[in-house]
Symmetry: T
Subunit: 150 residues, 12 copies
């Protein structure tokens, strides 16, 4: 079971950019931690970052039939990319939207995500832990866990 | 380390109400599962549900000094309760907003949460797994986990 | 066949409060008249008033399986209570929204009901006769009357 | 005592048009049923339908001094006809707005009626029963019924 | 030089309808007075009223090549009739918009005229004198009066 | 196979009205050309124009069971006629919305069509060629053409 | 009977400023023509122009008890001066709002006058003839003319 | 002469919650100071706080006939409680709205009070002194003080 | 300790203008009463009124270093004067906004004050008593009163 | 005469993505059919698809001087790409906007195209036939067809 | 060649008012620096500041025929003064709008300038250097500099 | 000291595209002139243009540590690219936004820049001179020039 992890514009600057908002962890460190967690959960992750909307769309489309799910942090594309929304909607697997900062406690225009309606779920505001938490949640979803074992 | 789990109006109907949207698990089953997960994580949970905004505020205020964090599913209060927003803001610990359904894929007026700006983070759209995932994320936050061990 | 009649905040002041808008009949008089009309129609009514949103939700939830329908005058909760909307939506029977005054001829902000989309029908602006008319309409609906007998 | 029953554009298609929304009763059947109910209530009804806004205005104006009240289902004119609003406002008798479907549970733009502020009351969402219920409510209003006989 | 005087829906009720707003003069009296004033000014007027938007459009189109100008009181069509706007715009002569009441001191939605951008000028709020004043202004315009004779 | 061609208010002025926007072809010339094209395509057209919203609704309703499709240029009714929207929606055949000018490059309020959601498709901005192109497109639709012959 | 004629910012540039919109007549020429017309009508006019909002308010206040009416062209103050609105409202005589250009056919933000609700009537779009027409209309109003002599 | 002092949700946390905004005085200290000031002014105060909207409404209704006026700090209910608005409107005595912080210098959504239109006056932004100042102002109002003694 | 009392446009008409809204006290009487109250409170007041925005700004700037605080009733400038907002913000002392009428119970556009965010506090709706109450509140603020003496 | 055919993000998934909305034809099949139709019409087409906004802009710019016209289906870029708007505007030939689905009958935010004002015409809602119809319309435009041969 | 430099309300407080936003340079120092720079550029400057909108309008009007261009920092008048907009529009020379702070990074309502559409260009956010930069840019414009000498 | 000069989509068409708005200078000519001016100012410039948002982000990120400042003309990305906003915000040096045309005098939707809040300053409307002026202003800023030498 392979999970895609796609991160959008400027996320390659993590650790350098506004650390009071985004934390000091770099994207490579987060990717490495996700690989370790995937081992624990019994799955694999394929990680990708680009500043190009088109490249993110290409990445998702190319893995459309082989992946079981995806984490997507659209970065600045969150607020305007209908194209990415359409790509997410055409994926046959659930996509989880991930944000490091609590976008609902920031500028007004950061509160509206055009991606959210196309995703299955969102994890927002835990810093780098958002990726980790989203991965755990997605795997639980894909394994169809029930609160009580029958 | 004790974590509060507060659920608002109509969540006592879980399992009965629109199961295609909210799932078939009852709130009791979810509470029980959270107790089990808390054991695994080495903490405890105190669960509470009410249809009364005032009772939810009282519950949070009364546990203000003894709890380490809280999960809050405000139900229908999500969209208008400035009072609950103010209560969350006056808590000395992080509060995680939880929603079972993807509120961003439903009616327009369900997309705006007045609670979100006061919370630390949100987990939305995983069904009952939202509670479970939020609990794991909150504990990771409180334990200050880093992606790489130093 | 039992019909619930629920009235929200400030409706206990009927007869005292702004009689030029709301009329001089008291809520007790209206309740009594509805009991008499119910006799004529061959059903019963259970009447309830509260200034507490939570108590109205509790009342509807508690009668969820025993009632055949409900009249609901949400009073000031009409314009903001998503919680009450959700409660109405989770009832297995039709709910009729009732208003004494023509809310569409008053202040702009009184024109928008968040409850209406969840109800089956509305009767608005007949003064106390709104309750009476709504009861007759609800019973006709429940008995599935057709314009021409086959 | 004569009551006008005016129906606007496309209501002549009742029974044919979107029966899941508007029901299977035809307008003639509804008119016939209203005549029968009028007999029971001790009044008469004059029924009229047109697809022309101007014709509906002419109809109301021509019966301005002879009628005691009116039911008006403005159809698609509900949402924009200030002219019909003005006509209703200049009638010396109460006009009841009638809708078959719950317009508040449909498209956003169907929720706003420019006619409502000029009418005395509204009956909305009972299907063909809306006409019947409105007629009963209007007669009760005109007869000045009180909840308790003095 | 012939001037058209067209009045829209409900203006045939002038003198009967809300006299505190619209005055006690009837439309016939106003038409008669305009004929007299036209005599004084050395022109003629052709007066027309209809409750039908289409009839008003037909009237203007039919007189398109013979008239020198027009007064138009669109009544309730003021606020929504793009068709009438387009008709006015396609006239080869100036059209003056006329309102009896000060529409800017009434309900919010009466303040916006979709007709105004297509007209040459407006005279608003003088009661029946609006027609008279507009006729004088239109004739002055058509005669190209200058403030100082050269 | 008969196709309706309905044109709304002011389209009878084509060729006379603002030729820089609407071109110099008259409506009769366009109608004649559509008859010729219909011959080529193996179908017939029934053409109609009116300045009356009600007459356009009557025309569509009267041909409801005999036509196979319709072209509709609603003229100024485009922007406010919910009645025409409802008529289009109740037709059992596809209706194509046609505009001569590019309404999206003109005044802000011309950009919003209340008719579009009820139609199957739109052809906008080709001048008189919009009618011709729409006819060809509609016939291709009705004949269920596929891009590759199987 | 004395009539005030007050003109706001930039109207002293009339004749110089954008003549295609405002015409070539200067404000002095207009004032002179108004004096002549006042002679004809049997009244007097006091003319005033200032680029200072405060000076216009002072002018109206100082003539509050001696004037019988006023023409007011607020210029750029039309769209934001609540102070001038309040001054107009506190005058014991009718004030007529005057604009040379058709403000409803220009930039969107020129369409909204905060002064209009406080005035009795408006004359808009006749060029310099707006002043002349407004003076005639105001005098007719003040003399309480009826369409038919009794 | 008895004055009610009602405080809404979270005001029981005064002194603990965001002291940089709300100050360090507790609600008990403020209540005590108001009792002392009431002594000076020759009246009494009845103080009440609740986190429940319904309880605040009950409190005002129960003292409806015995009190001479009220101070109301609605807390988070300020921005959405139409029910509380209606309660205030149905009181036979003046109600003064009180806020500790300057709500107009905070988040956008704190600027709009649905309570204000129903109250007689507001005192906002003086910290705890708002209560004291409002009490003095209310008593001056109730005693009908004039600026100059006659 | 000197307190400035600045009143904006039209406040010189107090007593004459709409007494049902603004009361019968004149501004001079209010100023005199404030001098008397200042004596009681052990401070002085400097009173000023102007219809000119610029003069009000000049007045505040000129007293910038000598005054201890200010009351400001901006009149009609309340709703649009960013300049006055900026002046208030640049004062080194607290400014209290004062309104005689309850601006929140009047026209929609009177509800928004651009001045409020720059002021320290507001006193609104007490009639002339607003000035008196504001003076008392400002002095209490400046003297740093605490609810309980330590 | 060469016509460009440019398709934006996700249109390479045609046939796979939401076939109930977009149909089962693949983009290659459509391109092939357009080549065949071009043969019939006596012109050629150059087809291009990309998920990259920049690549679409580059494509149009590179063919700026050699093409006679273009069809453009901007996909998700329709709703936000001002850059593409500007590119279209700077082309010396007419560009026809093409959409497969009726974007006016879908989500609210799909109704607004920022591209439309820069294009010459639009063909919307015919499924794959939109491309075919647009090509025919564009060629008719370019050949300057008149409805009647002179 | 003379350049006007006009500064609006509160700019006389530069150096005193919120130095973290506006810097420590006084307006006199800036004026002196502009005189020096004008010498370098071979032109002259006439500097003016006022807190009165009317005085700024008078200043521009009086220099209308003698100046070659103007810098205008409208201060708080930026956001509402249509009068100043109109004055700028009626100047025969280019006017450059100048702001010291980046108004687009401050309060929402500071982002909208009603002056900008009437000006030729804007220089915003360089602190006092905005004036200097604007002067250099304006002179380059007036001298019609080309990027390459022919 | 090196300054970046980045230009967005379609700016490579300068000189070809709408010269009445954008002028006749080509981007190469402007770049050459900036190199010459940089020589005069004692710095260097690195110029870059792309139609790809991602490429512009890559360019800024790659020069993040070596440049001293940047000029950015985002072209059509101005109005929607939150990604570019975020990139600008994460640069350690000041970025100046540059536009050739006065975007505030064009279409409504061109007036809003999502980039501006992240930049230090803006130079807008000088045609190609905007680049030159911005370079001079940026260098003055970086050199911390004061209006008076100490």
């Amino acid at each position: 079971m392979n999970i895609l992890v796609a991160s959008g514009p400027n996320l390659n600057l993590l650790g350098l950019r506004e650390p009071s908002i985004y934390g000091t962890a770099t994207l490579e460190q987060i990717h490495q931690r996700l690989h370790e967690e995937a081992d624990v959960l019994g799955c694999t992750v394929t990680c990708f970052q680009s500043n190009h909307e088109g490249a993110l769309i290409d990445f998702l489309q190319e893995n459309r039939t082989s992946a079981a799910g995806a984490l997507l942090n659209p970065g600045g594309l969150t607020h305007s990319s209908v194209s990415l929304h359409d790509t997410v909607k055409s994926m046959p697997f659930p996509v989880i939207e991930v944000h490091l900062s609590n976008i609902y406690a920031r500028e007004e225009w950061r509160r509206h995500s055009v991606i959210s309606p196309a995703t299955r779920a969102q994890v927002v505001g835990f810093g780098w832990v958002s990726y980790l938490t989203a991965l755990r949640g997605l795997v639980a979803l894909l394994r169809n866990e029930e609160p009580v074992s029958s």
